[in-house]
Symmetry: C2
Subunit: 436 residues, 2 copies
């Protein structure tokens, strides 16, 4: 029976046009990272499952990772996210290298998802992480990198927004103001995470299980209503949030000074599913009515080094997938077309027996850095130009034998229409003509 | 217990210096492919095992692939090679797109190997494939791409050689001249594949099992002694190899005309382990005495489309791993150093409270395409220059408050020593100064 030609479920076959598009996304990611002084790294496609078990959260382990036992009975998983890997790598070298450590990567990751728009099983993810301290400046820097990436593509505050929250703030509010214990806090976290996905009545019902008193219940309602930086500041003063835990006043002051206040909004329901976040958490949302979804998430984490028995080294990072980014750019018409990869030269011949001369000339032109496609079968004049036009070649070279049986190269610049004839001895000049 | 900081066995943690090196290899691969008009593609990290079972050979399936059952009980494998994937993808589109199809990819692959020098479990592999016909010109083109890649790195015939053979030639020789049946042929293939790895006595002993007669035994000895293109041509005439199966005369004529005869040598023991090859097979060898090994292998295959129930579409391709390529370049001292990624600007301040101004100025400079690293903590003058020197920054900018408490930016070009002072309003000029 014939095998299926389809890719494995939830994975993509990236044909040239799509791969060129992806390469464009990758180039912009690399450029943005370099502009901020982030250095490239990469890690293994497989990690031991224990690495994810330590901090990534139960849902990931139980439902989402591709795990199996290798031939040596090690329990391994295809990386579902990059943060545990980067933490593991940083744990090896952080004592020796200057801080802050600024790293980025674009790994391919796999999660066992139900494939749907914007969500596949395999995707590539731009990962940006800074390790150093837990100041607001590291958080702001990472937000800045994210904004700059989107701006590189021509996006602005009409296209996307960043909704932020802070785990320290939520922790303090839940424990001190609402007097919840750790277990209850965790449950309320999970409820908050789902608040936008469930109906108000369902939310109310689930909230009832926490037995909040009249006063705390009111406080929780107030919390959910926070809609601006000013309202947040008022709320935090009211609940006596200790500013040394997170200097929100300076944070929002700098956000203003950097001109980012149109981008960065406070949202009390942002909590992030991953267990390792301890400070800032954020999600970037598409503002287009046809694509109202989170594009990217990130946050600050303090405890990741501890799983390797190392000292604290706080980090902040985010991950942005290529699938969601492409959907975002498409819906906003910010994605150029990559249908064609035009060669500098298409070279062919009309005569029998010139195949090796065609290849020889092509070899010369490539050494002169001209992207050259050669055709060894003899073709009719008209067919040569048809083919050249299809591929968008900038120059066409036709090898012919002249009256004295000597090879001549007839070159045409397809844009200007200019034509010239060269010999095999004059390939240098022919190359110069094509470089124009 | 603390988790291990080490990567999974046989995989690499690519810290920035190593990732920069790998990126350099990738850039040269992409450049070479583009020069020849090859287009980028990529496929899924996972494929169904049946895809490899069809054509890749038993050793790969039984001993080398990372296979497992997914949560839907599909038997899948992490791709151990790219050819089956590219064949699957070509099978989807070959009817609609112009031939020949020239594609390349640089996927990460995994094989269950015993890790050793030049061989890891995970590597990235440059895959180049052309699909169209089974002419010698496609074979020659792919060999040319391989040569050009190595030449891009500055390598020449002193550094590497390409040993070739042809499955059609071996098939004809085994069946017509040695009168072996299919089963015996396959066994002799496997023996040939190992001839350089085993002792002459062991080879002789294993050969005895084939019961070659005096005349055929002599012929087989003659075959093993073929050392030049001329000797091969003589041998093929003697055994009456039908030239329409493989036009070796034209093949070697073009090799000469393209100036590749120093690179391309005939070797009767090259057969390639993978089952799908049907024409040219080749391996590229390092000539350095400390690294005498195959760097890369490839060949021509005609039957891959048939496993998808499609028409014949002959292809030729090769795969070159990043680990072997790096080893090759290192042993020949052809690899530049990538220890540093120097930023255009390092910007910091000596004064308290200038953090947000530092970030604001940095933001401006990045918009002007200057790679900028900022430091928000106030630092001593001397320390700022120490840090800047360590990272190799081209310009240093120090923010200070002048006598009237106005921010000024003191800029120094580290190469020329030239210094200038700007204001926050004069960031444009400051940026121009740093662009020099």
């Amino acid at each position: 029976m014939a095998l299926s030609k389809k890719p494995y479920k939830g994975c993509r076959d990236l044909f040239p046009e799509n791969k060129r598009t992806q390469n464009y996304l990758f180039e912009m990611m690399k450029k943005t990272a370099s502009l901020h002084g982030y250095e490239p790294y990469d890690g293994p496609m497989l990690e031991e499952v224990s690495l994810y078990r330590a901090k990534s959260g139960q849902e990931l382990i139980n439902e989402q990772i591709y795990s199996f036992h290798d031939r040596g009975d090690r329990e391994v998983a295809i990386r579902p996210e990059m943060t545990p890997t980067v933490a593991r790598m940083v744990a090896q070298v952080y004592r020796e290298i200057p801080k802050p450590i600024r790293w980025y990567s674009i790994p391919n990751l796999m999660r066992y998802e139900r494939p749907q728009k914007g969500r596949l099983r395999e995707h590539w993810q731009f990962n940006v992480d800074i390790f150093g301290d837990n100041s607001i400046y590291m958080e702001l820097e990472v937000l800045q990198v994210a904004v700059d990436l989107f701006e590189q593509f021509g996006a602005n505050q009409n296209h996307f927004e960043i909704k932020i929250n802070n785990r320290k703030l939520i922790d303090h509010f839940f424990s001190s103001s609402l007097s919840l214990n750790e277990d209850q806090s965790l449950k309320l976290y999970k409820l908050l995470d789902r608040v936008k996905k469930i109906k108000p009545e369902a939310f109310k019902e689930e909230l009832a299980a926490f037995n909040l008193s009249g006063k705390t219940s009111e406080l929780f309602s107030d919390y959910l209503k926070i809609g601006s930086h000013k309202e947040l500041e008022d709320f935090l003063e009211k609940i006596e949030f200790p500013i040394e835990k997170w200097d929100y006043r300076s944070f929002f002051k700098v956000v203003n000074e950097l001109g980012l206040s149109d981008y960065i909004l406070y949202d009390p329901t942002i909590v992030r599913g991953l267990d390792y976040y301890t400070g800032l958490v954020f999600e970037i949302f598409d503002k287009h009515p046809d694509n109202r979804r989170a594009l990217c998430g990130g946050g600050a984490y303090e405890g990741l080094m501890s799983i390797f028995g190392e000292d604290q080294l706080p980090g902040v990072g985010f991950g942005l997938g290529d699938v969601t980014l492409k959907d975002f750019l498409e819906v906003h018409k910010l994605l150029p077309s990559f249908t064609q990869q035009a060669p500098s030269v298409f070279i062919a011949s009309e005569s029998e027996g010139l195949a090796s001369s065609v290849m020889k000339a092509a070899r010369f032109l490539r050494k002169e850095n001209l992207n050259t496609i050669h055709e060894v079968s003899k073709l009719k004049y008209k067919k040569i130009f048809q083919n050249a036009n299809k591929m968008g070649a900038k120059n066409v070279i036709i090898l012919q034998l002249n009256d004295s049986e000597k090879i001549q190269l007839k070159v045409k610049n397809m844009a200007s229409g200019e034509q010239k004839v060269f010999t095999m001895e004059g390939l240098e000049e022919c190359s110069n003509f094509c470089q124009q």
